[in-house]
Symmetry: C2
């Protein structure tokens, strides 16, 4: 199976994806045999120093899995079912989502063939051909947003003695505010390195000298790992790929067509939930099939109704993390909030769970994770307010006692309250 | 010229549209001869009582203009130019935005013809065929949103003696929270009535009895004006039309293609700016042509850069007004803010201009109108804060003096401050 340009080589698997694999008996094969656990982000600073930021508790990790391997496992499992037929090299040209008729072009013969389905399940990715047909229908809500950043995949090879060139059980991050680089470990002891950067920056680096200068300035510790020669060769051979976020509604047409995964909700990759959300779609669809006794006319609208708020929430979170991840190194408020969350989580283990943990290590519906986070923000905000007001009142009363004969005490008090007010927006949402 | 279903019969013309007409010498012909000024909204309550809410100062008005008439005026003016050729009944099937080639299907022969343009200017509406081709291009941002409401156009005929059946110089509104009806006067002494309502409500009214019950409950004064027979006939003959909001970016491809008007930024009709924004596009494009000396390779990207923030701002404002207009009757905070704005505008005539006035009666860039409104909100908010805190501090100091020997004064003071805090969100944005 050839690697398709524009699709990342490795993927981050977490609880939602694992649950779905478990439901079809594949969790152990994927996790135990072929996945590399990552327990923390490892932040690479400009001076080469590194520091971990754990993903959750000490036993909580996400897994780096190869896309190609995962595809093969899933296809092999599907093949074992006698009622599954797999047709490679058939490109969907068009379909009628209302009747279930489909037209394919075969590769390489360009022969046109048609097929008729009881149900079209369009899992055909961010540029879905099924969705393109749905877009023409009345009252279909749709948005596609390209972020200004593109990405390019580079490689850190194994060391000469066949070992990983960096600490293995981490997701390595070089956050540099307006751009960043990450690296995930592969089974073959290499790392896939992904450089995320505004297109303009990619376009600026037009000579090997400029490229190397840029790397020396921003990712000096990565140059010997990637290798100067490889870096230059790969960079000028490859083109940056765009990053798209897609939302739409509904996900279905009548009882004949439904879209899932990236076709329904492509997201930017910064929360590591794209594949997990897609796999969770399958699990939820399966549960709805059971519950509604396989009545597609009921299952499909239910799927849209149930899944759209969650998919929108995770698309938004991924977009939000697009900013946060790049700023990880400088963000004191991020680290402060992390400490605050950790402390509150120690006291209220069941009710105060950090957002990242809810999203990554639980199956709580995405939109409820967001709602819970907003509640947490409100609680923190109000606590600060209450503490601040109490302090001000105590301060004021002392002030008033000391200065009650002084004509200017009111102005002074107002000023001190105003200062307190200015310090509040930090925790506003 | 036939009326096309799904396009409203009359349009609201305000300053931006007028300026553009003036630039091509058509303002007087449209305004003086064929437009009906509307100086205020006239709110119809359920009990039949009516009250005006002026649009601005006593001499400020918007104009009701017929779509068909306006089309004819513009076409006739265009025809007078020897370098303009008008081809009716040519439907754009496809085009190549990069090369300027276009394919049309002629009506009714279905004959296919092609044409080659130096510049394609796609002014082909909310469902633009030019934009459909641009959507396929990399890094084109796009969103289409259908609101849950549809609309249906009904008619209030002239009285038997040929007069307007209601007060003429108003935009009549029947706001009913989850739905609403409006009426604009026409040249022929009729009113075009538009019922905006969620599709579900349209679908509920399946018998003449249900329809009449609904009107008796919600628009009793409109029944004799429309006429029971006409109401029933029209309602069951027509289908509600959808309401779409479209944003995209960029508006151009190279130096060959640009989209304008609804093709670039279709909006819901609740701010009465759709046509005005489209006409303003032309004016701005014309200014850029002059400024950049007709170098299309510079003009087109400039147009995208200049116009997208304004178009997005007015699309958002229109969506915001979708809620506000329906609630006009019940909204005390809306009327309070209107009074507040009027007062501040009296004192600071040049710097404190209500949002509606900036949008409708000035040519200030839409996104700057929104920015200015946010500044106003902040000023009001901070004033309330300052007044509230001063009051609290004075109250507290009295309180403290009276109760400084009492152990529970702190709790009481906190409670009073908390009450003040609860009253603040009213003016939050």
């Amino acid at each position: 199976m050839k690697h398709v340009t524009g699709k990342s080589i490795n993927l981050a698997l977490s609880v939602r994806g694992r649950s779905s694999l478990k439901a079809v008996g594949l969790e152990d094969e994927v996790i135990v045999r072929h996945a590399i656990p990552m327990y923390a982000r490892l932040i690479h600073d400009r001076d080469g120093s590194r520091r971990p930021i754990p993903y959750g508790k000490s036993d909580q990790c996400i897994f780096s899995v190869g896309r190609r391997f995962l595809n093969e496992v899933l296809l092999s499992a599907a093949e074992k079912h006698s009622n599954v037929n797999i047709h490679f090299n058939h490109k969907l040209v068009t379909c009628d989502p209302e009747t279930g008729s489909m037209t394919f072009e075969r590769y390489p013969s360009k022969e046109i063939t048609t097929a008729q389905a009881d149900l079209i399940v369009g899992c055909d990715g961010a540029f879905s051909a099924v969705r393109r047909q749905m877009l023409k229908r009345p009252r279909f809500n749709y948005s596609q947003t390209y972020i200004p950043h593109g990405y390019m995949e580079l490689t850190i090879p194994a060391t000469p003695d066949g070992q990983f060139a960096m600490e293995v059980n981490y997701l390595h991050i070089w956050p540099r505010d307006s751009f960043m680089m990450i690296a995930l470990p592969n089974q073959d002891k290499t790392y896939t390195v992904t450089l995320f950067m505004p297109y303009e920056n990619f376009e600026d680096l037009i000579t090997p000298e400029k490229l190397l200068d840029f790397f020396f300035e921003n990712f000096p510790d990565a140059i010997p790992l990637i290798g100067k020669k490889n870096l230059i060769e790969d960079y000028f051979r490859l083109k940056p790929s765009p990053l798209i976020s897609v939302k739409c509604n509904p996900y279905h047409v009548g009882d004949k067509t439904v879209i899932m995964g990236d076709a329904a909700h492509a997201m930017v990759p910064f929360y590591g939930q794209g594949m997990n959300a897609g796999f969770e779609d399958c699990l939820i669809f399966d549960e709805l099939l059971e519950r509604e006794n396989f009545q597609l006319a009921r299952v499909l609208p239910e799927f849209t109704l149930y899944r759209t708020p969650d998919a929108e929430a995770i698309c938004d979170l991924a977009m939000y993390n697009y900013v946060e991840m790049r700023h990880l190194v400088n963000s004191k408020s991020f680290l402060l909030r992390k400490k605050c969350d950790k402390f509150l989580n120690l006291i209220f283990a069941d009710s105060w769970i950090p957002l990242y943990t809810m999203v990554t290590f639980s199956k709580k519906r995405y939109h409820l994770c967001v709602k819970n986070k907003k509640w947490q923000d409100k609680v923190i905000n109000q606590t600060i307010w209450a503490v601040g007001v109490s302090a001000s009142v105590v301060g004021l009363s002392v002030f008033a006692k000391l200065l009650h004969n002084h004509p200017h005490w009111l102005e002074a008090a107002l000023e001190s309250l105003n200062k307190f007010k200015l310090s509040m927006p930090l925790f506003h949402n």
